[in-house]
Symmetry: C2
Subunit: 186 residues, 2 copies
Amino acid sequence: MSRESKIERQSLLKQYLEENPFSTDEELAEYFTVSVQTIRLDRISLGIPELRERLRCVAEEKYSNLKSLTEAELVGELVDITLDKEAYSILDIHKEHVLEKTGIARGHHLFAQANSLAIAVVDADVVLTGSARVRYKRPVHIGERVVCKAVVKVKRGNTYLVSVYSKVEGELVFKGQYIVLAQSEK
Amino acid sequence: MSRESKIERQSLLKQYLEENPFSTDEELAEYFTVSVQTIRLDRISLGIPELRERLRCVAEEKYSNLKSLTEAELVGELVDITLDKEAYSILDIHKEHVLEKTGIARGHHLFAQANSLAIAVVDADVVLTGSARVRYKRPVHIGERVVCKAVVKVKRGNTYLVSVYSKVEGELVFKGQYIVLAQSEK
DNA sequence: ATATGATTAGCACCAGGTAATAATATCAAT
DNA sequence: ATTGATATTATTACCTGGTGCTAATCATAT
């Protein structure tokens, strides 16, 4: 790596750290063939914290993240619920939900919102999906807010038929019928 | 916190760190009202690495992970594919996929694996799910490996009918029929 | 009373820094 | 060529959150 001007190097440093955030100052110094102190000065003037701080942030982000992304019992945010009757949830479509190429939400996220809401609306300790029929009416794009409504249509013994409707600004984008099975543990 | 026996404390320590992995030895020592040295000995005999190591692991995991969990075009690992014919993927069920209470995989993960495979098997630039009928044959538990097979049954214009079968050790756990729509961008 | 296991303490050392201060290099303008 | 400004490098003291080792203390069972 040849020597560049200060401004050049700093912008390269910023870029480099974005793709490669776990480098020590020493490694960076070697990479840019400058002294460790120069790297430190650069980090300071760019407002980039030290390696350990970066690790800590990423790790903590993950911990609050994984929980809400995949470990959540419910995908989306529950806004209203009447057990054994109906429930509403909201999911905002962000970049992690969409196909990079098109900005269209991947189908399974809409499914997940609907599925988890269908399960939440049923009043029992353990509820499993038995089967589902879903239809995607139109693609949902990044930035849109999906409002999902689940309605218990029929209850027969442990089996529930739940209809789910997902809308964006009043327009139906997805609907599904879920057969869910309740297993009260008593 | 009152003093417990060594074995008791160590099992509590392990538990505590699982839910609360970013504590320093000093904080742990305070929490368990023992000396820092005792915490260190406990960590060693439990094979638990130091805080920085824990942070590093979590942070690195995230960097290889979030991409593959929610941003991945494909849920699961693609093992074989013949475009427009059939494809196979494998998904190992970990704790982030299951309901904590029961250890049973949430339905939408099986759906996501099947859905993304049904889309991957179709040879076109942009492919969207139009509708799906899925059936969950039996619950899938933590630790199980789901092998998913997608087969293109019928192709009519831009519309494909794809059947998907997910098995655990040869036993069918999930099946679905997906109608997917290809939109070649040419 | 003493052997045993568990706990605590003390010390040297390490990585990857911060903070401050000083010395040197580089380069443009006079 | 000299000066002045800016950039870079070097040096030193200090910090956190540890490792690794040795030694001392404490409780208690035999």
